[in-house]
């Protein structure tokens, strides 16, 4: 117990962990926001009737989804954006947004494909405009179908961010590694770090569960 106290709490060590956690949450939240917006746009392009847009979205998704996120991050930070002078956290947000967007685009497209087209046709027959049919019939169903996979994407995104130490960012994983190096207790420290990541995942799961329950009520 004393060892755990000296590793995680003593001399304000918990504040350093909290700071790392804040960086992880910051990068994850911003990437999720921009990734979801960009992903929705990509999905729109992917199902477009205009072939060049459809092909562009298809190529983008296949390249980004097939690339390891660490390679993408290093390529942007040390290559493409190296001379631009963008802060490392911003580069991380850009990378994870681009990566998440590809996944979100595909999960939204699969939700769209799972929809019964007859319902939209019925709504249109009843006099709904295109926008009304989308807002009142298609969109709520997409949300319901996509939700479980989206939840996994959010949790995956949080875990993907653990590689940002490669681009000079001190996130939760790096803080945990720093503590492990200083205290020479890697197993205990890594277990502590894993529990924090697990707690974040459960929090995400809890939020989705609550929204689901509210919808059912």
């Amino acid at each position: 117990m004393e060892l755990i106290y000296s590793i995680f709490i003593k001399n304000g060590g918990w504040l350093t962990i909290l700071h790392g956690l804040k960086v992880t949450v910051e990068i994850s939240a911003l990437s999720l926001l921009f990734g979801t917006l960009l992903g929705s746009l990509l999905c729109f392009l992917r199902v477009s009737k205009f072939a060049p847009l459809r092909i562009f979205a298809q190529v983008y998704i296949s390249i980004v989804r097939g690339s390891p996120v660490l390679m993408l991050l290093m390529l942007l930070f040390y290559g493409i954006l190296a001379r631009v002078g963008i802060p490392p956290v911003a580069v991380a947000v850009i990378t994870f947004s681009l990566h998440t967007a590809a996944h979100v685009a595909e999960l939204l497209r699969s939700a769209l494909m799972a929809l019964d087209k007859g319902q939209v046709e019925a709504a249109r027959t009843l006099g709904f405009s295109k926008w009304q049919a989308f807002k009142l019939v298609t969109f709520p169903q997409i949300l319901r179908i996509a939700k479980p996979v989206y939840q996994s994407t959010v949790i995956n995104l949080i875990q993907w961010t653990s590689v940002v130490g490669y681009v000079t960012i001190t996130d939760l994983t790096r803080v945990i590694n720093n503590i492990a190096s200083r205290t020479m207790q890697p197993i205990i420290t890594i277990t502590g770090g894993l529990l924090i990541y697990l707690a974040i995942s459960w929090l995400v799961h809890g939020i989705f569960y609550l929204t689901e329950r509210r919808r059912e009520q």
Binding site: V175, A180, S181, T183, M184
Partner: protein
């Protein structure tokens, strides 16, 4: 279609059963697995080639060890604690720190080869002026005993329950800034203090260098594997580097990527082997 599928399945089966190389596996299983930190710009195959050359040239036996490579000290220590490797290769200063922090770690005295690595700074080839300035300051600090004083404070006198606090880096208004990448992964030379600030011997050396050169020092923390990329992409101006002992067997540039130059060494440390004992007496 069926033929293609059968061909693919056969290929997968061959991969899974690991055709070829069986003889090596049998002999490797009897060797002592020794953890090592991956060296930049030296492939594992090249390094094993050097080891073989050392054995043949110096007539020593180190073939009883099988190197297992790790990206950082943490994962290597975790493997040692879990028993996946039996020994690790590290520096005397790090070994002393490890024993001070956890008495389960023990030094092995009987390994047959002793290497002394030199610590220096690595810079981009074109930064000649910075290299010359650093070399001049390193010489000054060696001559006036500053390195000896810092070695005593940050390495020799290391305490069991505390580390020297992170040193404040000097600031000079309007002066140029040298961006230095640190890994925080090699205590007591390079680690991150409890309040999250880079600390240790290397940071203290940098603070002194900054004072003497009248330049600001900015520290960025980075994973060990990204050091060369940080330097060549100009995300960092200086990185820490350990050069292997140069001899006829191991070429001087064996560990230095193209376009990178190193300064004169400011610290030397002997490579030792460590083990982990689950129970201490």
């Amino acid at each position: 279609m069926k033929k293609i599928f059968a061909l693919l399945m056969t290929f997968a089966l061959l991969l899974m059963t690991g055709c070829g190389g069986g003889d090596n596996k049998v002999s490797d299983s009897n060797k002592i697995k020794m953890g090592m930190i991956t060296r930049l710009n030296v492939s594992e195959e090249n390094f094993e080639g050097f080891v073989k050359q050392v054995e043949e040239t110096l007539n020593v036996s180190i073939a009883s060890h099988k190197p297992v490579y790790f990206d950082n000290l943490n994962s290597m220590l975790a493997a040692l604690q879990a028993g996946q490797i039996q020994e690790i290769s590290t520096y005397t200063s790090v070994a002393r720190y490890m024993i001070a922090k956890d008495p389960h770690y023990a030094l092995l005295e009987d390994h047959s080869l002793e290497f002394i690595d030199s610590f220096c700074f690595a810079l981009r080839e074109e930064d000649t002026e910075l290299k010359n300035s650093l070399n001049m300051v390193i010489k000054e600090m060696q001559d006036d005993g500053t390195f000896g004083k810092l070695t005593k404070e940050y390495i020799t006198d290391i305490k069991t329950y505390s580390e020297p606090p992170a040193i404040e880096l000097p600031h000079f208004d309007g002066a140029d800034t040298i961006k230095v990448a640190v890994t925080g992964d090699l205590p007591p030379l390079d680690y991150v203090s409890q309040d999250g600030k880079p600390a240790g011997f290397n940071t203290a050396v940098l603070a002194e260098i900054g004072k003497r050169m009248l330049k600001n020092i900015e520290l960025v923390q980075i994973d060990s594997g990204a050091r060369a990329a940080a330097l060549t992409s100009k995300q960092a101006d200086v990185i820490f580097w350990a050069i292997v002992p140069v001899s006829e067997i191991i070429p001087a540039d064996s560990d230095t990527p193209a376009g990178v130059v190193v300064t004169a060494p400011y610290f030397k440390d002997k490579v030792v082997h460590m083990t982990f004992k689950a129970e201490t007496k």
